[in-house]
């Protein structure tokens, strides 16, 4: 009998434990991209913000498309992504208050060291993509409507190539995040477009190396937007705005600039004030 009541109490305890969300001080949810999280940037700068303000920042790191969709549903207080046109539409549709430039990094094209398309070392990304298509060298695309994917499509357009006609042949859409796509590219010896931050922090480079970099068209601008409290009254506008203000302040900007992996700076702050 004592054993039964003990068991009953245990069961209740497990239930109570499971159903209780951890009580937290003020916290905000930031919908962001995998690049900011996977590179480790947020792990470094968020504690600085929390130490200063006591506001905990909870990051949901998904593709830009999904991040914007989640923010549209009101499932976040701040949106931090890199797809300018989509961000501006988000604000124009009334879901965001205002878009601010925050920082940039750049994209690079990485590919197998054997370089079957003969593009290594070029500074012209559009010409390089044309060559990859012409030689039907394998190319791994995110294919997930993320910021990187959007960037990649705009570059193909400039090159006058419709790679989707070769979908499944040399053009391979992974439909997954940057890390997974890099893993896939490493596995099949394919070229792919990646943000530099994820690339530098990526641990499984295998036979991949940077093939194309430095083209201004590979510029990757991050924007930050407060989700509209008019649309979603539960949005923690004050804390969210405090976070945006801090990111754009001298302190936040220098924290971004100070973040380095293997001595390389990954993100370049460029908030206009």
């Amino acid at each position: 009998m004592t054993r039964n009541s003990l068991r009953a109490r245990l069961a209740t305890a497990v239930l109570a434990l499971a159903l209780a969300a951890p009580a937290a001080a003020e916290s905000i949810i930031v919908q962001s991209t995998t690049s900011t999280q996977n590179s480790g940037l947020l792990d470094v700068i968020l504690p600085q913000f929390t130490a200063k303000t006591g506001i905990e920042v909870r990051v949901v790191a998904v593709g830009t498309g999904q991040a914007i969709k989640n923010a549209t549903n009101g499932d976040g207080d701040v949106l931090l992504v890199h797809a300018r046109a989509a961000e501006e539409k988000f604000v124009a549709d009334g879901f965001g208050v205002e878009r601010f430039d925050l920082m940039y990094n750049d994209f690079v094209v990485v590919g197998p060291k054997a370089d079957p398309a003969g593009v290594a070392g070029t500074g012209d990304v559009v010409a390089a993509l044309g060559k990859i298509a012409a030689t039907t060298s394998a190319f791994a695309s995110r294919g997930d409507d993320s910021g990187t994917h959007k960037k990649e499509r705009s570059l193909w357009k400039l090159a006058g190539v419709d790679p989707t006609s070769a979908s499944g042949a040399w053009y391979r859409e992974t439909g997954s995040g940057m890390g997974a796509t890099l893993n896939a590219a490493a596995g099949m010896g394919a070229y792919t477009l990646t943000d530099r931050a994820t690339w530098i922090a990526f641990e499984n480079k295998a036979d991949l190396a940077i093939a194309v970099e430095g083209d201004t068209r590979l510029f990757n601008q991050y924007g930050v937007i407060l989700v509209s409290p008019q649309k979603h009254p539960h949005v923690k506008a004050k804390s969210g705005q405090a976070f945006i203000d801090w990111l754009r302040s001298d302190e936040g900007q220098s924290a971004i600039a100070a973040f380095r992996i293997d001595g390389q700076q990954l993100f370049f702050p460029n908030a206009k004030r």
């Binding site: 434990l17 999280q37 549903n73 009101g74 890390g179 997974a180 539960h234």
Partner: protein
């Protein structure tokens, strides 16, 4: 190959260092998945038993549905629960998205059909043996269900284990409704997914090894409990 070797070393290092971060992740994994199994058991066991004992139109359809739902894709469950809990969804006002509670809900949805279907089968088999006896003792329907569940408990425990295994191993649902937020909703499987996307294959695999070790431990504990219970009954 070297990744595999490194993975085992990473797993061992993590375990030996008693990494507090890892401990917190493991604790949350257990909390979420055990909570989900508890909720699923509260719903699934009576449900399975009632379907086993009940005779009503469409019963076969319910049985087929329960069996089929055992194969619910976690991502689909995650999406549906996300749409329900999202601020734009019908339950958005509760603000449950990106909390452990949301993860418990999603996993409970995944696990309930497993527990219900296995309970249904177990109880139905036992019902075949018990039915006339319980009827001549004048036992009410409700008491019959309780009796069958109690007497079938060793087999039901295996059903609970199956449910726990499914819950603790899935990533598709919890990563959507939990958001894999560090220190809040990050569990073993979402950590593994994250480390994989970072290209930390050996660390990811190391975590996977620890996850398997945990499920083996839980399973062994349950079996030990069951063994003791069996001895107590057989006295």
């Amino acid at each position: 190959m070297s990744d595999l070797a490194t993975a085992f070393r990473d797993a061992l290092d993590l375990l030996l260092s008693l990494d507090p971060e890892l401990a917190a992740i493991v604790a949350l994994s257990l909390q979420v998945s055990l909570g989900a199994v508890a909720v699923a058991a509260l719903v699934g066991m009576p449900l399975g038993a009632v379907v086993a004992v009940g005779r009503f139109p469409g019963r076969m359809a319910v049985v087929v549905l329960m069996n089929a739902l055992m194969g619910l894709p976690p991502v689909v469950v995650g999406l549906v629960v996300y749409l329900l809990l999202s601020r734009a969804g019908p339950l958005g006002a509760f603000g449950l998205l990106y909390t452990p509670t949301a993860m418990v809900i999603a996993q409970a949805v995944l696990v309930t059909p497993i527990i219900a279907a296995l309970t249904r089968q177990t109880v139905e088999d036992l019902w075949g043996e018990y039915e006339e006896q319980l009827r001549v003792l004048g036992v009410s329907r409700l008491e019959m269900v309780a009796t069958l569940l109690w007497d079938a408990r060793p087999s039901l425990l295996t059903g609970l284990l199956a449910g726990f295994g499914r819950a603790v191993a899935e990533v598709g649902a919890v990563i959507i409704v939990g958001g894999n937020i560090n220190h809040v909703t990050r569990v073993m499987t979402t950590t593994i997914a994250l480390e994989t996307s970072k290209g930390n294959l050996s660390l990811a695999l190391g975590l996977g090894i620890i996850l398997v070790a945990i499920t083996v431990t839980v399973s062994a504990l349950v079996m030990a409990m069951r063994g003791r219970e069996g001895r107590a009954v057989h006295g």
